[in-house]
């Protein structure tokens, strides 16, 4: 039996890699992919805890996170398309109008 801590360490590692990616990447689609990676890191922790405590709630939460991720992908990619139309670029540094 794999100990629970291994799953949680893997989950934290994936979440951290995703967070680092969000900070270092400049391409807006790559940032978006890193956000998906962070969601998956959280999902792994939820499924692992659900399995170890015998509670179905964690898996249902993962199910809902997946639908939220699908909705987020649809809206986020629509925003990316509309940014690309006005600025002809996918670099986040080109879309800094709201920065102080």
């Amino acid at each position: 039996m794999v100990p629970l801590s291994w799953y949680l360490i893997l989950s934290a590692a994936l979440f951290t890699i995703g967070a680092v990616g969000v900070i270092v990447k400049r391409n807006v689609i790559a940032i978006f992919l890193c956000i998906e990676l962070m969601l998956n890191g959280a999902n792994l922790a939820l499924v692992a805890l659900s399995g170890f405590f015998g509670d179905i709630g964690g898996q249902l939460f993962v199910f809902i996170v997946m639908t939220v991720a699908a909705a987020e992908a649809a809206v986020g990619l629509a925003i990316i398309i509309s940014i690309f139309r006005t600025r002809e670029s996918l670099n986040v540094d080109d879309a800094d109008t709201m920065k102080l």
Binding site: V47, L60, I64, A74, V75, I79, S89
Partner: protein
């Protein structure tokens, strides 16, 4: 045995995740994210979350990543995609990989007859089966389920409004 499976898939997941942030081409990043998603799906099976594992492949690696790849190809900017040298030897790797895939499929088709299903009662009530997910989703967790449907409706409308071309 279980530890070995965990270590293999954990290494694949972390390796693909690191490749995701190392790649400059967003298409390769998307492909490595699919690798991470697939290995996480395998880990879900080891945690007895079969339904979530199937959903991970169908919804995440299938639907959501296809949407990503579609948008990446739609918004193809030349400066973001430095010219990739074609690696000719890669095409010869396709033949062994296809052979492995076909062999795997044949093995599954041959072995599926020999599988004996567990007794009706105990299989239904195990955590992580479609039965237990469905029962809980439509009884105890009905309100989040309905809220999700409203969320998806909002996402559909939002995506249409945002991506629509402005009438001039």
């Amino acid at each position: 045995m279980e530890k070995a499976v965990f270590i293999i898939f954990a290494i694949v997941a972390v390796g693909s995740a690191l490749n995701l942030i190392a790649q400059r081409n967003p298409l390769y990043s998307a492909l490595s994210l699919i690798g991470t998603l697939a290995s996480l799906s395998a880990l879900y099976v080891t945690l007895h979350a079969q339904f979530i594992a199937a959903m991970q492949i169908i919804v995440y690696a299938g639907a959501i990543m296809v949407l990503f790849v579609f948008v990446i190809m739609l918004l193809n900017t030349p400066e973001d995609h430095p010219e990739i040298e074609k690696q000719q030897w890669l095409r010869y790797l396709a033949i062994p990989f296809a052979a492995v895939l076909i062999g795997e499929a044949l093995y599954v088709f041959r072995e599926i007859r020999n599988i004996t299903l567990p007794a009706q009662g105990e299989a239904e009530h195990a955590i992580g089966t479609t039965w237990s997910i469905g029962t809980n989703l439509f009884t105890q967790y009905l309100l989040p389920f309905e809220a999700t449907s409203v969320l998806i409706l909002m996402a559909i409308i939002g995506a249409i409004v945002l991506a629509r071309r402005e009438e001039s």
